[in-house]
Amino acid sequence: MSVGVIGAGQLAFALARGFTAAGVLAAHKITASSPDTDLPTVSGLRKMGVNFTVSNKDTVKSSDVLFLAVKPPIIPFILEEVGPDIEARHIVVSCAAGVTISSIEKKLSTFCPTPKVIRCMTNTPVIVREGATVYATGTHADVEDGKLLEQLMASVGFCTEVEEDLIDAVTGLSGSGPAYAFTALDALADGGVKMGLPRRLAVRLGAQALLGAAKMLLESEQHPGQLKDNVCSPGGATIHALHFLESGGFRSLLINAVEASCIRTRELQHLADQEEISPAAIKKTLLDKVKLESPSLSVASASKVSLFTNKSKKN
């Protein structure tokens, strides 16, 4: 089986690293492409032994399972570009936040009558084989196609099938989740440093504490509330610390974060569905390169009025 990845950024790198480390795929069976060779991840992919090309079409031709690992606004352009090369055998796996199966199927159906589409939401810890992945199968994807993807993604972490309408919530929780954890870890390390620990040790210990806690929770039947209680001796250090967290509304901040990420994902989807994408949302050079490959794209469609605000475009 060959795997292709459209996009050669963080996610492409993470997937390639994870699959090769898991031994489910040899590096030379993976092809990744991007018109932008300046991405820092490109050299990393090359070093791994992954086939790198600037041609998305080549990636499609040489793969059975095709991951779309580009930012959501780019997806429509990619689909236009590689649509003609998609065959019945291909399993198209979109990892783009907020991009619906129906929007992908609609775009591809002009080229291929029954495109196999699976929508997937994973996260960057696939790179260390501790990813969290969910997927939903499209109209023409069989059970075996889903199982194939599941096997692939299970080699790099947890993977389960879900209803498509839950995927935005998953984005908010485990898609963005690692960023919340990194923020927490940075702050915990600061706390350690404030109280006298050297930075490196503080980071190491903070990370291990979260890793250990997560592992305990996953391996335990107990509720996290119970596990928390088990750490809090009466009148001890931990309960004093927890009181501070509660005073700061720690729990509500996390709830807010998951909610905000999920809502933003839906917003992005809504915008993408309307295909109201500004050139500012896509690097001009990137857009030019994409357009070169697909003469069917008109300049007019690429310069529609932006509904994006100046918020970050990262998903």
Binding site: G225, H243, G249, R251, I255, N256
Partner: protein, 274 residues
Amino acid sequence: RAAMEASELWVGFVGAGRMAGGLVRGLLQAGKVPASNILASAPSDKNLDAWRELGCRTTHCNLEVVHRSTLVFLATKPHILPGVLEEIRPAVGPHHIVVSLVAGVTIQTLQRLLPPWTKVLRIMPNLPCVVQAGAMVFSRGSNAGDEEAALLKSLLSSCGLCEEVPESYIDIHTGLSGSGVAYVYLFAEALAEGAVKMGMPGALASRIAAQTLLGAAKMLLETGEHPAKLRGDVCTPGGTTIYALHQLEKGALRATVMDAVEAATNRACDMAKD
């Protein structure tokens, strides 16, 4: 020993206020001690009428209570107690079991003001003892043994939860449950107010609020499950409960409640020092 048989027990109350009244109702409810074996003293008849209606005997003389009882509950206000102890001290003997309900008065103080061999225990009840759904903790003094502790526990379990604890927990119990009852009233009031805002009549809202608290507490006590688990069980994904809980978390309710328990506990400690 004969005195340990509850039905033979002569129980006295020095002070006959609300707290004492709650305990005696529990005792009688449990049927462990006949009303005629109970004697209460108070300066005026104001409180004593209710006791007589229960079938208890009453007096205005504290010494009489001590003379005629084996188990003596001290239930006066804190500032009155030292004077009362001085008064009854001569009548206190080795057969007596003295149980103080008086807030903020330590075992050390009690033992100092009573004869050195006196069996002393200290108890902190809470208001719902009057409806036999109280929460009480007690500690023993130096001369109180397993028998006395067991007797107290067996007599008072009819009033609610009754547990022996180290004395240092008593102030915490005040913050948690003594005062805690007021936090619950506040919460109940706020719940009802929310319902009224949404259009429900106040009286109905109040009754439902109270029943909700009662039911939730009952489930907690009977299932023995962790409250976080029970909370999770109520929260359907994307449903009403999780939306509401998010509001509570935004308001840092948990921390505020922790603050309250801490403040009351600290205040109890401070008052005990006075």
